[in-house]
């Protein structure tokens, strides 16, 4: 059964949840947040979609197979760790560089952020894989 209230709310909340998840991801380096909680929030956006419509619709909205998300996430996190090997430092050593962004000033960008992005993707992938499989099995 689809409810108009739920579908409308889900449509409105979808972008809000996704933006919140990115916010949490970026905030995570120094303050509460990070790839894990950000990933959970992003997954909840699609889970809400699946509840409002159905699992097939949610898969379509996601566009990417959750397995691929997990794989890409693992490789992203791994590459963040391996980059330091190329720089001659032990695995997973944080490498930093600063980037000047017009209007935003100096930004420090480092491999820990890349690692967190990997975690984010893995969490989104694995959470949705479980949720979508379970709701399709109903």
């Amino acid at each position: 059964m689809t409810s108009v209230i739920l579908t409308t709310t889900a449509r409105l909340l979808h972008p809000v949840l996704l933006i919140t998840s990115i916010f949490l991801l970026l905030r995570g380096h120094n303050e509460p947040g990070g790839g894990f909680s950000g990933g959970l929030v992003a997954a909840s956006a699609f889970a809400l979609h699946a509840m409002a419509h159905d699992a097939r619709q949610a898969r379509r909205a996601l566009r990417i197979d959750p397995h691929v998300l997990i794989g890409v996430g693992l490789l992203t996190a791994l590459s963040a760790g391996v980059m330091s090997l190329a720089a001659g430092a032990p695995l997973l050593t944080g490498l930093w560089t600063s980037v000047h962004m017009p209007g935003l000033g100096e930004w420090a960008i480092g491999t820990p952020l890349l690692f967190d992005v990997g975690v984010y993707l893995v969490v989104v992938g694995i959470t949705l894989l479980i949720i979508l499989c379970l709701s399709e099995a109903e």
Binding site: D65, H67, V68, I70, G71, V72, L74, L75, L78, G81, V82, L85, A89, P90, L91, L92, T93, G94
Partner: protein, 500 residues
């Protein structure tokens, strides 16, 4: 080269991620799975070579200094274990190509196998007790899924026992790590080695060491904690049970040897005396249990237990020669036991089951397979000139050197009983005429699949023969591994840096 130390963890992870990316394509997953295992094998050979040349190596992950961050350490023992994991991993992935069904492959069999290998290698390489727990979990979670993948009724029954007991062991391990941290304020094994030695030897430390003994003892399946093993190892498909039988219990043995040579050496008379006693009972109960079985893989499962007894016997005797015997035994056993499970899988493919009364006539129909069974089987029983003879010989000689006549006697009797079990499999599965009308009809030729399954079996059998004909190489490696284990000063200096 420092990157070598992390490669055995990175490569399987990359292969697992690759398998996930190729989720839709079964062929791509098979290629990536085998390539990952092959790459691991190559990295492991290079690592062992480098450790042999330059001695113990350590790397501080993330450049956090030693007692605070996570350290990866490779001494000869670790590097040898990683190499064995590489060999078993590669052989199993080849074997799986022929014997794992499409459905299991679609549900991520190859990705899981690589995650399992990553967990095993991580456990061998880590120099941090909590990290060791984490690698155990990585390995166990992958193994839980591999155990249950396919969802057959018998598999589920085995998986429930396996998961329950292993989770209990993990809980005990975690509690033990917590108490140890509370007592010493560190988790780094090298640092622990120093701090435990500096404390007055007391009952509390012995109690903690017993918690570790129970936790790793469940994982290694020693007496009286082994009962989950024969209840579960015969349920999954042959390549899965081969890799479990070959590698997983040995990770528990590895952890026991590591902790009880590096950290808990404060009350050797009690702790190692107890380990020797446990070893004797483990050997006996395993081999007697096997005598009562009549299913191919259940016999082999009980034999894992009795063999585990030999491995920790060397640790219990606690001399350099005895520990070297243990290391040699582990290397020999991993190769031989994996191979025997492989053979059982081929027997099932040819005859449709694992029960000995349904098998038969395999020697008449497939003499090469019979020969390739005979090599690991006789090696397991310790017949010269195969690898098992030298493994048992090293242990027995080390036992006689310190006049441990009781345990040596048990070891010899158990060797004889092992031969009895192997003879039983031989005469039932290979020698006796095939049951029913199959006896008269000419043997159908082996399918291409079954012939592919023979490739890894032949490779491992050749390795067994090679170790038997030239035991010097492996013996030198084990002696050096044992010297490093018995004198942890080099290990500690390598991890912590020179004392300032």
């Amino acid at each position: 080269m420092k990157p070598l130390l992390v490669l055995p963890i990175i490569l399987p992870l990359a292969a697992a991620a690759g398998c996930l990316l190729a989720w839709r394509s079964r062929v791509a997953q098979r290629v990536i799975g085998v390539a990952g295992a092959a790459a691991l094998l190559v990295a492991a050979v290079l690592l062992l070579q480098s450790v042999w040349r330059d001695g113990v190596q350590a790397v501080q992950i993330g450049r956090w200094p030693a007692p605070f961050g996570i350290t990866l350490v490779a001494d000869t023992f670790s590097a040898l274990m990683v190499l064995l994991a590489g060999i078993v991993g590669f052989a199993t992935s080849l074997y799986s190509l022929a014997s794992i069904d499409a459905r299991r492959e679609q549900y991520g069999y190859h990705a899981l196998m690589n995650v399992l290998l990553m967990g095993v290698c991580g456990a061998f390489l880590t120099g941090d007790v909590f990290n060791l727990y984490v690698w155990f979990e990585v390995m166990l979670i992958a193994s839980f899924v591999l155990m249950a993948l396919g969802g057959e009724r018998a598999q589920m029954e085995g998986a429930i026992k396996y998961v329950t007991l292993n989770l209990m062991s993990s809980a005990i391990l975690l509690a033990a790590v917590g108490v140890l941290y509370g007592l010493t304020g560190t988790l780094n094994m090298a640092d622990l080695s120093v701090r435990v030695a500096a404390r007055p030897a007391g009952g509390v430390m012995t109690a903690v060491s017993m918690m570790f003994l129970v936790a790793f003892g469940i994982k290694a399946a020693v007496f009286p904690l082994f009962f989950w093993l024969p209840a579960s190892y015969h349920t999954p498909p042959a390549p899965v049970s081969a890799v479990f039988a070959g590698l997983l219990t040995k990770v528990g043995v590895y952890a026991l040897i590591r902790m009880f040579t590096l950290v808990f050496t404060h009350d050797v008379a009690f702790t190692h005396g107890l380990i020797t006693l446990v070893a004797a009972f483990t050997m006996l109960s395993g081999v007697l249990g096997a005598a009562a079985q009549s299913e191919f893989r259940r016999i082999l499962s009980f034999h894992i237990i009795s063999q585990i007894g030999y491995m920790i016997m060397g640790l219990g005797l606690f001399t350099a020669a005895a520990v070297a015997g243990s290391v040699f035994y582990i290397a020999h056993h991993i190769i031989v036991k994996t191979n025997l499970f492989f053979v059982s899988g081929v027997a099932r493919r040819l005859r449709g089951g694992y029960r000995l009364d349904g098998l038969g006539g395999l020697y008449r129909d497939h003499p090469w397979l019979a020969l390739m069974f005979l090599v690991p089987a006789l090696s397991l029983a310790g017949i010269p000139p195969l690898s098992g003879f030298f493994a048992k010989f090293a242990l027995v000689r080390a036992g006689l050197a310190i006049e441990g006549y009781g345990i040596v006697g048990v070891a010899l009797v158990v060797g004889l009983l092992t031969l009895y079990s192997m003879t039983k499999i031989w005469s039932e599965a290979f020698w006796k005429p095939a049951p029913g009308n199959a006896a008269e009809s000419p043997a159908p030729p082996m399918s291409a699949d079954a012939r592919l399954m023979l490739v890894p079996i032949a490779l491992l059998a050749l390795l067994t023969v090679a170790i038997g004909l030239a035991p010097g190489v492996l013996l030198e490696l084990s002696v050096r591994a044992a010297e490093e284990l018995m004198n942890p000063a080099g290990y500690v200096t390598c991890v912590m840096g020179e004392p300032s």
